[in-house]
Subunit: 151 residues, 2 copies
């Protein structure tokens, strides 16, 4: 398998709502009233956390299979902590603008003992692409152009 | 406005599909056949990119309003580049496991000139929480416990 590339695109419906396409899938991101939106979909930070949870789910099952860990069920809760909205709002702050940390909680239905589960989670964590992009710096290039529409 | 915390939770439907709840919203993440899934929803990496695009949309409109930039419309495309799946698959590699870089392309319908747009995007980039969590290291704590169900 060669290197992988994924793309999504989004079109603004208003100043908070983005209508997103990822291949054949269409979904909506929005803000609630506290950020001036109509709450018509999960917010951007919730999608970020959902991306991480779903990545962990896939890798968790992959590594469990490799290690013959019996995994009957799995629930993942992720909390993004201490986002200081000052910088978003253009106010002075020494804080970063994103979450200051993330907490991930796995609840598993399995016969494995705690030591086995801890070792499994350590490997899952290290092999999860989304977790890597969150835990470690990722170079980002942004460009802006005038929209030229054919229609 | 005090510091903000957001949480999501997900329950595995099978080894690739996660059924996610974020407040009142329910949505599905899955993998396509190349990763053993049924392609019943966007994949984890697409949600990650969608979270970033939708965050940029909100901050872009906020900063445009502050700067009196007329923004009639906006399209954002984000591409995650060069994800080497070796590490996910448990094979040796010197590459990181996530995207090696991200490219963001804004297409805007606006009267503003290119210099104005470039300056605007620089500020948008620096104030977007999701972008901060991707561009800079974020501490992550993971715990695992046996699921104890009441029902």
């Amino acid at each position: 398998m060669g290197n992988l590339t994924f793309s999504i695109s989004g079109k603004n419906a208003n100043s908070t709502r983005l209508d997103i396409k990822a291949r054949q899938f269409k979904f909506i991101a929005d803000e609630d009233a506290s950020f001036g939106g109509l709450d018509e979909g999960p917010n951007p930070l919730e999608y970020l956390l959902a991306g991480y949870a779903s990545c962990l789910n896939v890798v968790a099952h992959l590594v469990a299979k490799e290690r013959n860990i019996n995994l009957r069920g799995l629930e993942i809760t992720i909390t993004g902590n201490d986002l200081n909205p000052a910088k978003v709002m253009g106010q002075p702050t020494a804080d970063r603008t994103g979450f200051q940390s993330l907490d991930v909680q796995f609840e598993v239905d399995s016969d494995a003992d705690q030591e086995t589960l801890d070792s499994w989670i350590t490997e899952v964590r290290g092999r999860c692409p989304v977790g890597d992009n969150l835990a470690n710096p990722t170079p980002i290039k942004i460009s802006v152009n005038q929209l030229i529409e054919a229609n």
